[in-house]
Amino acid sequence: MDLEKLRETAAEVVAREDVKYLIGWKNGSYGYRVAPAFIEDAEGAAELIFSPLCISNLSTYLTLVEKLPLPRGQEPDTRKIALMVKGCDSRAVTQLLVEKGIERDGVVVIGCPCPGMIDYDLLAEKYPETEGLSEVKWTDDGFLVIRDGEETNVTRDELLAEKCRLCRYPNPLISDIMLGEPVETWEPAEDKGVEEVDKKDVNGRWAYWEEQFSNCIRCYSCRNVCPLCYCQDCILDRLNPTWVNRAVNFSENTAFNIARAFHLAGRCIECGECERVCPANIPLGRLNRKMAREVRDKYGFEPGLDPEAEPFQASYKPDDPEDFIL
């Protein structure tokens, strides 16, 4: 994508009177780091970037924003928030619209067609981070890693993030402004992670998840980063009734993770953020992708495609599968 055009458009958008700020990506402080940027003026717009490192899903900031009580006599700020989205992020925005988490009039969606993002861990392992800022660019058949002025060409397969291998919607499905031409969609790879767990027997799966969930430190990062976990009164925080105890042990960790996966069934848009931020490296994406696959195969429903759709868990069809019923 043409960065000049991106910055120009962003400056135009933030100059609009009805826009509060724009959320995008900018360079971090060192190495491959990329930070979210909240842009309010043309000066800030000049910092924006869009590179294979912009893997984070910014749509989570739409609901994370703190709504403080207003002093008497003061009007709430109802200006729009502009947001840069990739294909997967745009599905999160759509799903938020479906659930009425945000209003369509409240956002300006700036679509960025995404040729695939880089897996940060793979990249840092092969090409360790340096103190200076490094850059990664897309080339015709892969990535160009530039660190300390040294350029390395890397094939796409080597560094592509797992969620991007499985991606079916690289182009934003909803947007007010589209930057650049839509990219060609690619054949999604087979979901080896889910397959690996799926082909074990029940005891094997239990043993697998026992090992994974025992590592969980219950930091709630997965919940906080998730664009669709925005309940103000989260059931996992609630003390009366206590659905899930706060103790960190296998039983509670499993209940926590099952509850979270269940609440995302039919809503998860597979942006892979939970897995990316997990400090214990629990493959949470496998849980969510498995549920997404079940919902797609059995119920013919895919979240985040149609803003007019009924929420999956708050609707039903008379001919839903019932082969499990005695």
Partner: protein
């Protein structure tokens, strides 16, 4: 599971069909396993999937959810919602490695006392085969 290898079953029954069906089984003197602890709810649509998880955490070896047949719901559509949600929960639990024999769902109407007996027998039998579910017990601190 108790000392003599009898599984504990928690059953969530809808007030209008399955609870009346279980009642009918009782008044008709139908014999069925006594391992099942019945919890009456107004509708299967009221059964939060976390009820099932909590029951398993707190000592159940199997869970049964039973309601009206599709189309017969007292609240018109509650059991349709329950079918969708609990069907997904079953898939999820299976993926996490909870034995699918631990969770069952059934439609039992108020006149099906004998079906209730069969459902309970099947649930208890399955839970017994699946064995005790100690691994998932909530750890209670004994002060």
């Amino acid at each position: 599971m108790s000392a003599n290898n009898e599984p504990n079953i928690v059953a969530f029954l809808c007030n209008w069909c399955s609870y009346a069906g279980a009642d009918l089984a009782g008044t008709s003197r139908v014999h069925y396993p006594s391992n099942v602890q019945v919890i009456r709810v107004m509708c299967t649509g009221r059964v939060n999937p976390l009820y099932v998880m909590n029951a398993l955490q707190q000592g159940a070896d199997g869970v049964l959810v039973s309601g009206c047949h599709p189309g017969d719901c007292h609240y018109m559509e509650g059991n349709y919602y329950a079918r969708r949600r609990l069907g997904m929960l079953k898939d999820l639990m299976e993926f996490v490695g909870v034995d699918p024999r631990r969770f069952h769902m059934s439609w039992v109407s108020a006149s099906e006392g004998h079906k209730w007996k069969e459902v309970v027998e099947k649930t208890v039998e399955d839970a017994r085969e699946a064995g005790s579910f100690e691994g998932f017990r909530r750890r209670q601190i004994d002060w």
